[in-house]
Each structure stands twice: as structure tokens, then as C-alpha cells.
């Protein structure tokens, strides 16, 4: 009951004209950057971070959340019409959605993905509203040791369990740690990793890292691959309205997708890929139209994964708001926006910043309504955005990247760091290193270090504090299983199948 009261209060915050305007700006911008290949919510929110110095926290978080949700909607449009998944979470949508578009049912694919996103996004947001207070009750019992162990678990799942290789994922994470440690150590005032440069005393801004990896790295990568061939836009054909049969095949997939996506997103592991792939597999198994999968495109194969994607995006907000634990690059950048306001997300956030949290949650409901309107009747507008030619698109992205970076302190040093990170981002793309763990490592690494040192100070330097507390031990054990388990499993499977032969590239 209390949740409903809080939510009602949240709506009174979100329904002020100014906040509605921010929500509209965020969702529109979010859809646009979701549609445009090469731009994502993490990069966009990073570029907009300076706005936190200008407006109230409620306004900027409503804007950021609108971008976050909007990018999910827009990304599926690109996946369906262009077959270039803008984000890893929409890979599965491209599988069936693009086939549907090619067989003349693009309208229905867009409709089921937008309505499915709305249904799952709304259910997921309800999930946030009701689950967050429960997690808070649980989290209040956490001490520094538990927090540290929870962060270790998140580090492992984000970098090692998800993605194609745990070694490469962890490498990205550790690079993030190093970047995060640059600057003055807040507890002792000692400069670290500054190489004697005064410019580095304040640390490296997350804007530079996000822009370097996502904008400069991506542009270099796209330039290097001009020989790879282009995807063509499938012209939008067919009615946007789904037939009764298509509704009948979609709604169960939406609900199943939401049921899979939200819990996985809400776990301190995060990641939208696993729920979308899971949902796809389930829909394929349950479908009465299996022959459509992989041929003309099955509507369930779009409806389920799209719903799972949006529900898990909502789920990611639970650990972010209640534990201060970001599990995606976008969430990590939002966490740095909290830090820029001097707000520490954690169990106390829901009580100390009730206006902010409940206003944000309420605005997510409103964002979903705006987004389904933006993405169905106005779909033609977004399709036109897809026609922006690549040269001008990427050149334009770098102009904005310059504003975002050079604007921090008008220092050419920042541009040098930006380009170095861009080169690193290019190599990471080329050699299949995930980039999100870098951002998560640089934001969450220093927080983990703080909790670690706090725990060690309380225990007087006794390391046993991490394994003598049962909860902390459980979390560390889970992290260890997450790190080692898949390898042991793969080894056993491998032995059983083919004998002791070497598998190439299993790093």
C-alpha cells in the first residue's frame, strides 16, 4: 500500500509541465539515437552529463531515463528495417524482425515490437516500483564487506559470465579499474597513476571514456570496415496494425518475455542479451509456426525478445537505485550523474530522495506511453532518420564528441586522452573485447575500493571479514562459481564429446 502512495506522489512530481517536457525531450532523443546506428544511450547520456550542473536532479534523471527507454524502442526499428542491431540486446530482434520485413510484414514486426516494449516496459516499471522497497529492506543489513562481495559478484557476471570470453571481459574490466584509479585518492589525498601530470589529478572524466570508446572508437571501426558491405534499408511495407491472429500470437510472447527479462535484469548481474536469447529459444520451442522461424520471420520471435529486452532494461534500475550497483554501461553513467549531484545511490536513496526516485519511476510509466505513440503513428519519421548517409552521420557524431570533451575544461590534453581511448576502442571492437566493462569498472571500481578499505579498517586489517560473514561468503562463492563454473562445465562437456582435443580460441 505504501508503494502505491509513494507512486501517487511520484506521479505528482512527474506530471509537472517542466518534467513532462523533459520526459518528452528524453524519449524523442532516445528514440532518435536508438534508431541511428553508431549512437547509443550510454554515449548520449555521457554527452549530456554537464546538464546536471544546470537543472534539478529530478529533471535530469527523467531526461536520462527517457533516453534509456527510448533507445530500446528505437533500436528495434533499426534491427527490423536495417538488420544492423544497434545494441547487443536487439541482435535477436534482427533475426526474425528483418526476415519479416523482407517478406513484406515489416509493419507488423514494428507494431509487435513497439506494443510489446510498452507492455513489458510497463510491467517492468511496476516491478521496479514493488521490488525496490523489498530489496532496500534486505540491503539495509549490508555492511561494507557484503557490499564489496556483491560488487565482486557484479564484476564477475558483467565481464566474465556474459559475453564471449571471460579473459577478454575481465581485461576490459581491469582497464576500467586503472582508469578509475587515476587521480587523487580520496581517503589519503595521494595522487595515483597521474604520471606526474597535473591534468590527471582530477581523474579522467567518464564523459571522455564513454565518448572515446563509443564515438571515436566506433567511427574508426566503421571507417576501417568500409569493404565489409552495407546493409540496405528494407522499405516499410504492410499495415502497421496487427491482425487478430498476430495479436493472438504476440500477447503471450510479450508476457513470457517480460517474465524472463525483468528478473534477470534485476539481478546484480544485469545484461540484456541473455534474456533476449532465452526468450527467443522459448518462443521457438512453443511456437505453432516453427516453419516461419529463420524463413519468412515469426512474429513470436520478435515479440518475446523485444519484451524481454525492455523488461530487463527496467530491471537494471533495481540494483542501480537500491544498491548503487550499475550493471550496464548506461546505468554506470547514470550512477556518475548521481555522484555529480552528490547523491549516493543505495538503500537510503528511496527515503532520502523520495521525490527523485518515485518521480523517476512515475516518469518511466509516462515515457512508455509517449514512446508507444512516438514509435507507432510517427514511425515514418524515424525511418527517414535511417537514411542519413554514413559519412555525414559519423562526422557529425565526432563534432558533438568534441563539444562534449573539449567543453569539460578546454584542454587539448583531454582530446589526446579521447583519441587514445578511441584507438583502444577500435582495437577492442576489432579483437572482440567488450567495452561496457570498462565503463562499469571505472565507475564501480573506486566504489568497490572504498567498501573494501572500509571493511578492512573496521576489521583492523583482517582479511577474514570477507569470508567470515555468511552473506559475504555466499556472494563471493557465487562469484567464484560464475568465474570458474562455465570453464569446468565446458571442459567436462568437451571431454565427454570429443576426447582431449584442443578447442581453439577459447580464451
Amino acid at each position: 500500500m505504501e508503494t502505491l502512495n509513494q507512486l501517487a506522489h511520484g506521479f505528482s512530481v512527474a506530471f509537472t509541465p517542466v518534467n513532462l517536457m523533459w520526459c518528452l525531450v528524453g524519449t524523442t532523443l532516445g528514440t532518435a539515437i536508438g534508431v541511428l546506428p553508431g549512437l547509443g544511450p550510454a554515449l548520449t547520456i555521457a554527452l549530456l552529463l554537464p546538464i546536471t550542473y544546470q537543472v534539478a536532479p529530478e529533471a535530469s534523471f527523467i531526461l536520462f531515463a527517457g533516453i534509456y527507454y527510448g533507445a530500446m524502442y528505437g533500436g528495434s526499428t533499426t534491427s527490423i528495417l536495417l538488420n544492423t542491431p544497434g545494441e547487443s540486446a536487439t541482435i535477436v530482434t534482427a533475426l526474425e524482425g528483418n526476415r519479416m520485413a523482407r517478406s513484406g510484414r515489416g509493419g507488423a514486426a514494428l507494431a509487435t515490437s513497439a506494443i510489446g516494449s510498452f507492455v513489458a516496459g510497463t510491467l517492468g516499471t511496476l516491478g521496479v516500483a514493488f521490488l525496490a522497497p523489498v530489496v532496500v529492506k534486505f540491503a539495509l543489513a549490508f555492511g561494507p564487506a557484503e557490499y564489496f562481495s556483491l560488487m565482486v559478484l557484479a564484476f564477475i557476471t558483467v565481464s566474465a559470465v556474459l559475453g564471449s570470453s571471460s579473459v577478454r571481459g575481465l581485461t576490459s574490466l581491469f582497464i576500467g579499474f586503472v582508469i578509475g584509479m587515476i587521480g587523487v585518492d580520496l581517503q589519503t589525498g595521494q595522487p595515483r597513476f597521474t604520471f606526474g601530470m597535473n591534468e590527471l589529478l582530477d581523474g579522467v572524466d567518464v564523459i571522455i571514456v564513454a565518448v572515446g570508446l563509443f564515438a571515436v572508437g566506433e567511427t574508426l571501426y566503421m571507417a576501417s570496415r568500409r569493404y565489409a558491405g552495407k546493409d540496405e534499408i528494407v522499405p516499410l511495407k504492410g499495415s502497421l496494425y496487427m491482425t487478430a491472429a498476430e495479436w493472438g500470437r504476440s500477447w503471450k510472447a510479450w508476457l513470457r518475455g517480460a517474465a524472463i527479462g525483468f528478473p534477470i535484469g534485476a539481478m546484480p548481474a544485469g545484461g540484456a542479451e541473455i534474456p533476449t536469447f532465452l526468450s527467443y529459444a522459448i518462443e521457438k520451442k512453443l511456437s505453432k509456426h516453427k516453419e516461419e522461424f529463420g524463413t519468412v520471420g515469426a512474429i513470436e520471435g520478435v515479440a518475446g525478445p523485444e519484451a524481454a529486452n525492455n523488461a530487463s532494461a527496467a530491471g537494471v534500475l533495481v540494483p542501480m537505485l537500491t544498491l548503487g550497483l550499475p550493471t550496464s554501461a548506461t546505468a554506470a553513467i547514470m550512477l556518475s550523474a548521481f555522484q555529480s549531484y552528490g547523491i549516493n545511490p543505495g538503500p537510503l536513496l528511496l527515503t532520502t530522495q523520495a521525490n527523485l526516485v518515485w518521480g523517476l519511476i512515475a516518469s518511466l510509466f509516462i515515457a512508455n506511453v509517449i514512446l508507444v505513440i512516438l514509435n507507432l503513428p510517427l514511425i515514418g519519421l524515424w525511418v527517414r532518420l535511417l537514411k542519413i548517409p554514413a559519412p555525414q552521420l559519423y562526422a557529425g557524431i565526432l563534432v558533438f564528441a568534441t563539444v562534449g570533451t573539449y567543453g569539460i575544461s578546454q584542454s587539448p590534453t583531454d582530446l589526446v586522452i579521447l583519441y587514445l581511448l578511441g584507438a583502444a576502442g577500435f582495437l577492442m571492437r576489432r579483437f572482440d573485447f567488450p567495452t561496457a566493462p570498462v565503463i562499469i569498472g571505472m565507475i564501480l571500481g573506486p566504489l568497490a575500493e572504498t567498501q573494501f578499505r572500509r571493511a578492512m579498517t573496521i576489521s583492523n586489517g583482517d582479511w577474514s571479514v570477507f569470508y567470515k560473514h555468511p552473506l559475504s561468503l555466499t556472494l563471493l562463492t557465487l562469484a567464484f562459481i560464475g568465474l570458474v563454473g562455465p570453464h569446468i562445465w565446458a571442459y567436462i562437456e568437451h571431454r565427454r564429446r570429443r576426447g582431449p582435443e584442443h578447442v581453439p580460441g577459447d580464451a
Binding site: M181, A223, S224, P391, A395, G407, H502, A507
Partner: protein, 178 residues
């Protein structure tokens, strides 16, 4: 990249991946060097500012060794990436655009530097209309300067184009005020 023979068995040494592994090892060495440079007060010796850097360094050493082993076993670059040959010319123009921006942003100001970067990057991506691109770049840079940067309250300095425009704008405002 350098390995273009598709028939090559995957068990041979992969040079680019080996370089990445060695590069990471070098980063770990830099981390060690910088960690040793952190002065530690004896008061903090148990949980001082160097504990986490040392943990990070250890992790990086282990990871770089694992990467080097993987490189010796044939590397991990996805086949699809290996098969696509790198368009060095396109990348060269993008890099030239970035370097030009870095060198010119101080002397010429943001807008002029951005236009030059814009044209070079468009050229790299295959556009063959430098004048049209320059005009587009100018419009976009001005929009970024007067819209985006002002809205965010970000100061990106002013070069001659911005100064001229500011003078014009101020003149118009003062004439309008009479």
C-alpha cells in the same frame, strides 16, 4: 589484419593478438611503476592507497599471460573480422581529421576546426562533395556551439568565427533595443 590466408590452421601464432597481450603486460608494468610511486604513510599500511593498485596489477599480469597463451594457440579474433580487410585509407582520413581538430581547436576555435574535421571524415567515409560537406559541417558546428553547448552551459571557447558571429548577434540585439 596481417593474417589474410584463410587456409591457415588456427593453431599457429597470431601476431596481432600476441601484441595485444604484450601491450597489456606493458600496461601492468606501468601500473606497477606508478603504484611504487605512491607514497604510503605507515598509518595506512594495512589498507592504504596501494592495495587496490597491486590487486589490479596482479589481475592484469594474469590476464595478459592468458591472452599471450591464447595468441600462441592461434588467437581469438572472430573469422568475420579477419576476413574483412582494413580500409587504411578511410581510417587515415578519419585520423587526419581528428589530429587536425586537436591542432587547430586552440588557434582557430571550435567551429573552424570542426568544419575541417567534418570534411576530412566525410572524405574518409567516401563522400566526394567537400564543399557541400563543409557547409553541412559549418551548420552543424554552429548548432552544436550555440545550441548544444549553450544549453548544457558548457564553455568551449571562441575562435574567429564565433567571435564574428557574437559581434553580429550583439549588434543586432542592440539595434533591436534601439
Amino acid at each position: 589484419m596481417s593474417i589474410s590466408d584463410p587456409q591457415a590452421p588456427r593453431s599457429r601464432l597470431a601476431v596481432p593478438e600476441l601484441l595485444i597481450g604484450i601491450g597489456l603486460l606493458a600496461c601492468a608494468a606501468a601500473v606497477a611503476w606508478q603504484t611504487l610511486a605512491i607514497p604510503v604513510s605507515p598509518l595506512y599500511s594495512k589498507v592504504g592507497p596501494t592495495v587496490f593498485p597491486y590487486i589490479t596489477m596482479t589481475g592484469m599480469v594474469i590476464l595478459s599471460l592468458l591472452l599471450i597463451v591464447a595468441a600462441l594457440r592461434g588467437g581469438w579474433q572472430p573469422e568475420e573480422e579477419k576476413e574483412t580487410s582494413t580500409d587504411w585509407k578511410a581510417m587515415g582520413f578519419v585520423v587526419a581529421g581528428l589530429v587536425a581538430n586537436l591542432l587547430l581547436i586552440r588557434p582557430l576555435g571550435f567551429t573552424a576546426a570542426s568544419v575541417i574535421m567534418f570534411v576530412l571524415i566525410c572524405h574518409g567515409f567516401g563522400s566526394r562533395h567537400p564543399l557541400r560537406d563543409a557547409l553541412l559541417g559549418l551548420i552543424l558546428a554552429l548548432a552544436a556551439y550555440f545550441g548544444f553547448a549553450r544549453a548544457l552551459g558548457v564553455n568551449i571557447g571562441a575562435g574567429f568565427i564565433e567571435n564574428e558571429l557574437n559581434t553580429v548577434i550583439n549588434a543586432i540585439i542592440s539595434t533591436l533595443r534601439g
